[in-house]
Amino acid sequence: MRKKYFVQFILLLCSGMFSGVILAATPSASMLANTCVGCHGPNGSSLGPASPTIAGMSKDNFIEIMTAYQSGERPATVMTRIAKGYTNEEIELMADFFSKQKFVRQKQKYDSGKAKLGKKLHKKYCEKCHEKGGSSAEDDAGILAGQWEPYLRYSMEDFTKNGRKMEKKMKKKMGALQKEYGDKGIDALINYYASQN
């Protein structure tokens, strides 16, 4: 036994990993993505009822969100804890993987009257950054169209009530929307995005 341990010790010295732990190589993108789909659905398109679809989002947007979870800048239930489990390189691989997947929308309940108002409000306050009715990924602003309603509601709560950080432009627009339409305006927007299926 002693001899065996001695040999292992010498091997460790030679490998230059004496003080460190020998980590396996970086996992592949699909191996990493496999750890996401249990909550975020097949290829990142969630079957609901609340966890968001992450398929089709832009690479930059994905990286920005994961970094904000890691730092705690963005609030979450489990994602603040889970994001810390991945290196920058791993996050980039996942970002690349999900950016290439199709955002598959599911039918959701919504109020058509509210959705109609929401469409109008979206054009006025949101479309400039969340392009094409909130369905574009290219704007790096996050896909809203067809996103799960409870998730949209929670996000809006975080922005309006829980102090989640907004970009300057968004803060201005959100303030204007709330001043003019109050919580009804927010509710209308959520119904509009949920109506897009």
Binding site: H40, P49, S51
Partner: protein, 428 residues
């Protein structure tokens, strides 16, 4: 004779699949690689699907005795009446669509030398790689008076399905003012927070339907999973630690270890004796029966495995995943089984294609729901370090003790989302 290398073979195999869908007869170049999967629970079903998705030239047979699988996760919501038994029931048609050959039979033996699996129905299946996902079995001799026969009347409900239904019926038939006694198991066991979520869910039903009733948990342990969060939740909702608390936990230090039950009178003997109106005994556990028959178990009662490939350290080309595998620090949870299955599937596919096992990544997230609007979770990301599964430092952990009511309500929604997406990932 054809002289083709492996890559050509894969290309050709893919090509023939396309041809065959056009109505031409399937052309087969030599024998394809065969994987036999024993057990159609979370681990087995996930492995079958992920092997087929990664390499459709591999012939995958999954052998499972039951036509349906009831998930253990969310089965406590059935006890509360928040969902019905059918909502946790899954079949194998989804796997068949992925080209998995599903056989309903009971595996009785695995011959690691001849590389053959044999069944009760008298069939044998040859394999290049075998993946065993045997789940758990019970140590029936550890509590006097409780065995498989008694369990037909006094449920363990630790394998979901008819046992869950039986326990639900007993709870709904119980008088207001009755006592439910839950006998918790010693470590290690399937679903560490499960007994305590169960107490919470039964308490929810009793609070709303039979508020004079009580739940006593008798535990051979001095502490349990998510203990601080559970007891805080019980204080919020069920008067825990007050004079008329609905839930009482008796740990090992207070004489909670049960040695005997009287199944006729429903009397439970720990340091003191307790009279139950409904009794739920969750016995001590070990790897599923087939793991013992196939000599995959160490003296611990569980199956030692290589943490990168889940290949048994006892028998070559036989892999063990799920609750039966010794994969600590991964817990014995459904989501861990799902994660292990994906890592194992990737390793098996690589090996059958003459490649090295890929670098793994593992995850676990476990939700515990204590009322329909209050849940908490534990999460962790794992990687391989020094050949062993290791927690990523700084990652994971519990729902914060000071999480707001709103955040705990969100956790319920995300728990249900996890259920929907994960069960699709496994069976869809």
């Amino acid at each position: 004779m054809f002289n083709i290398n492996r890559r050509d073979f894969l290309n050709l195999a893919g090509g023939t699949a396309i041809v065959s869908t056009l109505g031409f007869p399937m052309v087969s170049f030599g024998a394809s690689k065969r994987v036999v999967i024993v057990g159609g629970g979370i681990g087995g079903a996930t492995a079958a699907k992920y092997i087929r998705m990664a390499d459709s030239s591999i012939d995958v047979t999954l052998i499972e005795v039951n036509k349906h699988y009831h998930t253990c996760f969310m089965s406590n919501e059935v006890l509360a009446g928040s969902r019905n038994l059918d909502s946790i029931k899954f079949g194998y048609s989804g796997l068949k669509k992925h080209g998995v050959n599903v056989v309903h039979d009971l595996v009785t033996g695995i011959d690691p030398v001849a590389k053959k699996v044999s069944t009760k129905g008298g069939k044998t299946f040859s394999y290049d790689a075998c993946i065993v996902s045997p789940g758990i079995s019970f140590n029936w001799d550890s509590i006097e008076g409780y065995d498989a026969k008694v369990a037909e009347k006094i449920p363990h409900a630790w394998k979901a399905g008819s046992q869950t239904g039986l326990l639900r019926n007993q709870i709904t038939s119980m008088k207001n003012g009755g006592t439910v006694v839950i006998v918790a198991p010693p470590n290690p066991f399937r679903c560490p927070p499960g007994p305590y979520e169960r107490a919470s869910q039964i308490a929810w039903y009793l609070k709303n339907n039979k508020p004079k009733s009580k739940i006593i948990i008798l535990d051979p342990k001095i502490k349990f999973s998510k203990m601080g969060l559970f007891t805080a939740g019980w204080q919020r909702h069920y008067g825990y630690k007050s004079a008329n608390s609905m839930i009482e936990w008796v740990g090992a230090d207070d004489g909670g270890e049960v040695t005997k039950i009287d199944s006729r009178k429903l009397i439970v003997s720990a340091e003191e004796t307790f009279k139950a109106n409904v009794l739920n005994v969750i016995p001590p556990q070990k790897a599923g029966k087939i793991a013992f028959a196939a000599d995959l178990v160490s003296s611990t009662g569980w199956c030692p495995v290589n943490h990168q490939t889940f290949e048994s350290t006892r028998h070559k080309d036989v892999h063990v995943i799920g609750d039966a595998a010794m994969a600590s620090p991964l817990p014995k949870s459904g989501y861990a089984a799902n994660s292990e299955a994906k890592v194992c599937a990737a390793a098996v596919v690589a090996k059958l294609n003459g490649k090295e096992a890929p670098a793994p990544s593992y995850i676990n997230t476990c939700y515990s729901i204590i009322t329909p609007t209050d849940a908490m979770s534990v999460a962790m990301v794992y990687r391989l370090a020094d050949g062993k599964i290791a927690k990523v430092k700084g990652a994971g952990g519990l729902t914060p003790a000071d999480a707001s009511d709103a955040m705990r309500q969100r956790e319920v929604d995300y728990a249900h989302s996890w259920f929907k997406n994960t069960t699709h990932d496994v069976f869809g």
